[in-house]
């Protein structure tokens, strides 16, 4: 087996190892991407509110 093949094969446990690491990657990436998107969306929403005129609701 070539080096890369052996690496992916992980001594027969490839499916287990790579699905774990894959899931970890997904979880970690999602947790960075989603908050950033949320922040941009919040800023956009606030900008729209600004453009429409002041509204001073005090409930959080």
């Amino acid at each position: 087996m070539s080096g890369l093949e052996a690496f992916l094969h992980m001594g027969g446990y490839g499916a287990y190892v790579w699905s774990s690491y894959g899931l970890a990657a997904v979880v970690l990436i999602v947790n960075v991407v989603l908050p950033r998107r949320a922040e941009r969306a919040t800023l956009r929403r606030l900008a729209r509110r600004e453009a429409l005129g002041e509204s001073h609701d005090t409930t959080s």
Binding site: F7, M10, G11, G12, Y13, Y16, V17, S19, S20, Y21, L23, A24, V27, L28, V30, N31, V32, P35, R36, A38, E39, R40, T42, L43, R44, L46, A47, R48, R49, E50, A51, H56, T58, T59, S60
Partner: protein, 248 residues
């Protein structure tokens, strides 16, 4: 010692600015640490004598499990600070910790389950540690539910803080009970991840990965906090100016 200099960091605008300043560095540090840890864990560490290469799942499972508990503690401490000193920034930290902690717990559970299949032959065992993690996930989900159930963000954060603190007292009790329960219902045989003395070549990547996860946590926590800060201070002039700059 005069702690007055800390007071300005209670101001949300300063925290927002601090977050913006720090996150690029934390991002870079996380990526580097992950790279180092992955190379060490996936390539350099020798295969385990008993488990072969499947033990490499440890390098994501153990840090995730560690973080799941660390973040709960952080959430509870921030919650306690929020309740006692009524600091908005503490409420924000507490709120932001919850989904992150739940993600780590979920990751720990699934990777633990995946790791268990080659080790024990089944996808799930009622092992003390996995069961405790599962209960921890429910505790997190409860806090998240409470955060969302109240219309007032501040009250929601404080209610979640009370629940988190009740949970913090309960966690050692739950841990001990489940530990005790699992010895009742299965033999003391192979139900735990074996903890032999770990070879230094296997240990170093693990420590690096844990640091990577910690750094990552700091990074994403600060990012998450920014949306919360904007929501909390939405009527403040600095927020209005910021949103105007950002454009519609």
């Amino acid at each position: 010692m005069n702690f007055a200099f800390l007071h300005k960091y209670a101001a949300l605008m300063h925290c927002y600015r601090l977050s913006r300043a720090l996150t690029p560095w934390l991002a870079g540090a996380s990526v580097l640490l992950f790279a180092w840890g992955l190379v060490g864990g996936l390539l350099l560490a020798p295969a385990d004598y008993q488990q072969g290469d499947s033990f490499r799942i440890m390098y994501v499972h153990v840090p995730a499990a560690w973080m799941s508990m660390f973040v709960y503690m952080a959430m509870a401490v921030a919650g306690g600070v929020a309740l006692i000193w009524k600091l908005k920034i503490a409420e924000i930290v507490s709120r932001a910790c919850a989904p992150l902690g739940a993600s780590f717990t979920f990751l720990a559970l699934v990777t633990g389950s995946i790791w268990g299949k080659p080790m024990w032959g089944t996808w799930w065992v009622w092992d003390a540690r996995l069961t405790s993690e599962l209960i921890l996930l429910f505790l997190y989900l409860g806090v998240i539910a409470l955060h969302g159930a109240l219309d007032d963000r501040r009250a929601g954060a404080r209610a979640g803080a009370v629940l988190a603190l009740i949970g913090v007292v309960n966690i050692p009790i739950i841990h001990y009970s489940v530990e005790w329960w699992s010895t009742l219902h299965q033999g003391s045989t192979v139900t735990k991840f074996a903890k032999p003395s770990i070879h230094i070549d296997m240990l170093i990547p693990l420590l690096v990965m844990i640091s990577a996860f910690q750094c990552y946590f700091a990074w994403t926590l600060l990012v998450r906090m920014r949306s919360e800060i904007l929501a909390y201070d939405r009527n403040a002039s600095w927020v209005r100016e910021l949103s105007r700059e950002h454009g519609a």
